[in-house]
């Protein structure tokens, strides 16, 4: 499985309150959530994002609240993969559980800039920056987690068992 798209770039400690502000948590409608995604730090994101685009950030992406609405809003907005130096742990497991691909890669996070064209190979963990003609190696997921992703998320993997 591969993802390819234009990069939307953010810094360290992007919290779930800015990914999807709590004032919109009175709905579970994924499209409505996506329409407000990132609006408190990047008001134009929802208009600018195209299907398949990639989000790149620094340390501790998705810190704060456990709201699963956050990865859901990002996924529904069209983002095909989030790359960061590190993820906050609840955001990390929520993303795996709902099937939003995420990769930890310090080198990619350091080098990739807003607007770069990037391709991600989830099988090998290789991230290719087409614009800069560079590649970076992310740690692939452990088998236990790959099984959840392959099954299509946590609930599907439980049902399989």
């Amino acid at each position: 499985m591969k993802a390819k798209g234009t990069v939307h770039r953010y810094q360290d400690n992007v919290d779930t309150d800015v990914i999807i502000p709590a004032r919109y948590l009175n709905t579970q409608d994924a499209k409505e959530l996506a329409s407000h995604c990132m609006e408190d730090i990047d008001a134009e994101f929802a208009c600018r994002v195209n299907e398949g685009d990639i989000m790149v950030a620094g340390l501790n992406f998705g810190c704060g609240s456990s709201r699963e609405h956050a990865p859901l809003a990002i996924k529904t907005a069209g983002i095909s993969c989030v790359i960061a130096k590190t993820f906050a742990r609840i955001f990390y497991r929520n993303s795996i559980n709902i099937g939003l691909p995420i990769l930890e890669c310090e080198a990619a996070s350091e080098a990739i800039e807003a607007g770069d064209e990037v391709e991600v190979d989830f099988g090998t963990g290789v991230i290719t920056n087409i614009t800069k003609n560079e590649t970076y190696q992310a740690e692939p997921f452990p088998e236990f987690i790959q099984d959840i992703i392959t099954a299509g998320g946590l609930m599907a993997s439980i049902n399989k068992k």
């Binding site: 309150d17 810190c63 709201r67 699963e68 609840i90 559980n97 236990f144 049902n159």
Partner: protein
């Protein structure tokens, strides 16, 4: 090599002799929790996956606390969905308006969570229950759905930071200042994926309310959980309250820690976290020129009876500074009632504060105290992110109930030690 306290609890719940940091395990759950924001998403996942029974109706807890009493029609629909689910599956611990409280104040108070438990909650502050010697961590709605269906959850066994406490807190300094100080030292990702294990002779001087506040904000340093050893303070709190037999786990003498932090409680001072991250800590004495518009005293961090008491000691017989709006929210019905009995609520109203029924409302910018552009709030809550309590240009200063109450009197961030 020995195990940490957290690792011992996880090993026991995974049916393993030993576990080590980094290992992926499946553990049995004693308690599964959700609220009116996260439970609807969990119900959808539960039903979509085709489940038609819960693993144990006595172990599932649904607390309607975030947008309740409902703030709008959509919030009311979400509460209704939770109510219908709780009724359909005959959930024992379903707490609606009239019985509910802020979840992380309510569950310990009711004796639902206890020492040795393995707990997940679809709320990031579920780490609060480490105060009673449980392993407890926040997860998302899909984990809650899976937990309700199977009674199990997958975990990556965490390494731990050992936090050695000595000394005793001075007057006007509280558990809130301890945890803000730690987050200021290590940063908002300083304990990422790790446990924070509190040990040392300083532990015994901390009340259960202080411990609950400290563990509550472990997540603000990125931690998976915070945990205190079980001692006389724990036993006194749990005995006669807890609904189940509890188990005591202790870290091995040769347990491995990724780092050790030593804190002398004698040296701590009232601390304030400036916008827009909890790690931006300053001693209160540096903040005296910051003018404020609003004060919030409450939340899962600081809405307990000792927090109400700390506010009362400062506000009784005095008047809130004109132009400052002060919102006080006892976190549960029991705390509300006890505050009435002790005369706290009358003193708060006489001082010019308002008192609300239990709700998370303002902490996450839900309702009951939203901030306008450029407004500043001193809040006893747990997060000061951009836009958390309202407009993106509003500012939140995190502090203890004592600092918040002292600031209410002057209209500037103030040192409670000058008023006490």
């Amino acid at each position: 090599m020995g195990m940490t306290m957290t690792q011992k609890i996880l090993a026991a719940h995974a049916g393993l002799e030993t576990v080590k940091a980094g290992q992926l395990i499946n553990a049995k759950l004693d308690i599964v929790l959700g609220n009116d924001i996260t439970t609807p998403v969990a119900i959808n996942e539960f039903e979509k996956a085709g489940f038609d029974c819960v693993y144990d109706k006595s172990r599932i807890n649904i607390v309607l606390d975030h947008f309740t009493p409902n703030k709008d029609i959509k919030a009311a629909e979400q509460s209704k969905q939770c109510r219908e689910f709780a009724c359909k599956y005959d959930i024992d611990n379903f707490y609606d308006v009239g019985e509910m409280g802020v979840e992380h104040a309510l569950l310990p108070e009711k004796g639902i969570v206890t020492a040795g438990d393995c707990i997940i909650g679809a709320d990031s502050h579920t780490c609060t229950y480490g105060a009673v010697g449980a392993f407890s961590t926040g997860v998302g709605s899909t984990d809650m759905a899976a937990g309700m269906a199977t009674g199990n959850c997958w975990f990556k066994v965490p390494s731990a930071i050992k936090i050695e406490l000595t000394g005793k807190l001075a007057k006007g300094v509280s558990g809130k200042d301890v945890i803000l100080d730690i987050i200021g030292r290590i940063g908002v990702d300083g304990a990422l994926y790790q446990s924070m294990e509190f040990v040392g002779e300083g532990v015994k001087s901390l009340s259960m309310d202080d411990r609950l506040t400290i563990c509550n904000m472990a997540i603000e340093a990125g931690a998976k959980n915070g945990i205190f050893p079980v001692d006389d303070v724990t036993r006194e709190y749990l005995d006669g309250r807890t609904k189940r037999e509890y188990s005591i786990y202790e870290a091995d003498d040769d347990a491995e820690y990724s780092s050790v932090i030593s804190i002398n409680l004698d040296e701590l001072v009232p601390t304030v976290s400036y916008p827009h991250l909890p790690e931006n800590t300053h001693p209160v004495t540096e903040a005296s020129d910051i003018k404020i518009d609003q004060v919030v005293i409450g939340s899962c961090t600081n809405g307990r009876i000792s927090d109400m008491e700390a506010a009362y000691e400062i506000l009784k017989g005095r008047k809130v500074k004109k132009g400052v709006r002060v919102i006080i929210i006892p976190a549960t019905q029991e705390i509300y009632k006890e505050s009435i009995k002790r005369g706290y609520l009358e003193a708060f109203v006489d001082a010019g504060c308002i008192v609300s029924t239990p709700t998370c409302g303002p902490c996450l910018g839900g309702y009951m105290g939203i901030l306008a552009a450029g407004e500043r709030c001193v809040s006893t809550t747990n997060r000061n992110f951009v836009g958390r309590m309202g407009h993106v240009s509003s500012e939140i200063y995190l502090a203890s109930p004592a600092v918040a109450a002292a600031s209410a009197l002057t209209g500037y961030i103030s040192d409670p030690r000058e008023v006490l």
